[in-house]
């Protein structure tokens, strides 16, 4: 399993804007490189990233070649209620990873 690093504030006030940071381990091979013998190195990238907040999708990104290895994705959301963030990364060669983080909203 590829390790991921998630940074979500453990606590937030209702209505507060919070920053969510995610770092996923991935080589992000572009598919444009060749080996010394001329063969194409097949593309192997993360193609999609999704974040759900208590089941509701709040952020989605499509990823393409030319995004660096170990993509670091950060975004903001409004803390509305206590619960869970679910993260999902989908990619080439059947890559599928999930992670989650809890938040308490006061």
């Amino acid at each position: 399993m590829a390790p991921a690093l998630i940074n979500v504030p453990r606590k937030a006030k209702r209505g507060e804007i919070i920053e969510i940071k995610t770092l996923m381990s991935h080589i992000m091979e572009t598919g444009y490189r060749h080996t010394s013998t001329g063969e194409v190195v097949p593309r192997d990238i993360i193609t999609s990233f999704t974040c759900r907040y208590n089941g509701t999708e709040i952020f989605r990104a499509d990823l393409f070649p030319a995004i660096a290895a170990n993509p670091f994705i950060t975004f903001f959301t409004v803390a509305t209620e206590s619960g869970k963030f679910d993260f999902e990364w989908i990619g080439d060669k059947g890559f599928a990873e999930t992670a989650s983080a809890a938040i308490t909203v006061e």
Binding site: P3, K21, L23, S25
Partner: protein
Amino acid sequence: MKAARVIVMAVLLIAATSVRGDEIRPGERRSGLSFMTPETQAMQNDDTANPGMLWVLNGDALWNTKAGATGKACADCHDDARASMKGVAARYPAFDKALGRPVDLEQRINLCRANHQEATPLPYESRELLALTAFVAQQSRDLPIMSGTEPQLAPFVAKGRELFTQRQGQLNLACANCHDDVWSKHLAGSAITQAHPTGYPLYRLEWQSLGSLQRRLRGCITGIRAQAYDFGAPELVELELYLMSRARGMPIETPAVRP
């Protein structure tokens, strides 16, 4: 083309200045961290933004994974790395009595695998070896480097220093020509740093991966158009040892981030 010309010019400029052979004065020593942009510094300082931490997480898992014919994990002998490995990386490369010469942290891990786990050695720059090394080294974070103080190491430190000040390659440059003499200047757009290996293994944005000090040294040696030593070569370990003893007292930053 323009960039290539700038590099050639810079190299000529460096070649024109004589080797002063002066080591950097203790008060002037700076970690590579201080040469970087605030953005890259922020990346290193935030454990959830530092990609090197992905290898540390991997290493944490490997530490507790049984391997080899004896079916032992690192943790079975060394227990909790947070206690047992604290300060260890700050003393490496260290003298190995059986071999009669210094070994670096990667070699120590592979010796441990061979002697105590009866497992196959991990290849240099493999994800597993970098992960374990980063995990062990991270336990020494913020502790001062103590390498090269053992008396048996003195001749090897001297050999490393000799290599550091020895002109070599088609460009006829010694490490010291850049890293002792003109560290405040730039080579094309990049800062020439003081070559204090405080954060290895470290994440280089250029590599898009974690890499060892030996990888960095091989890159530099190729850059001066000399024949790079193979991974694990005694010369590279001696160079590592000299650089670490040169950085003695500076805090470990592993896993560092560099451009």
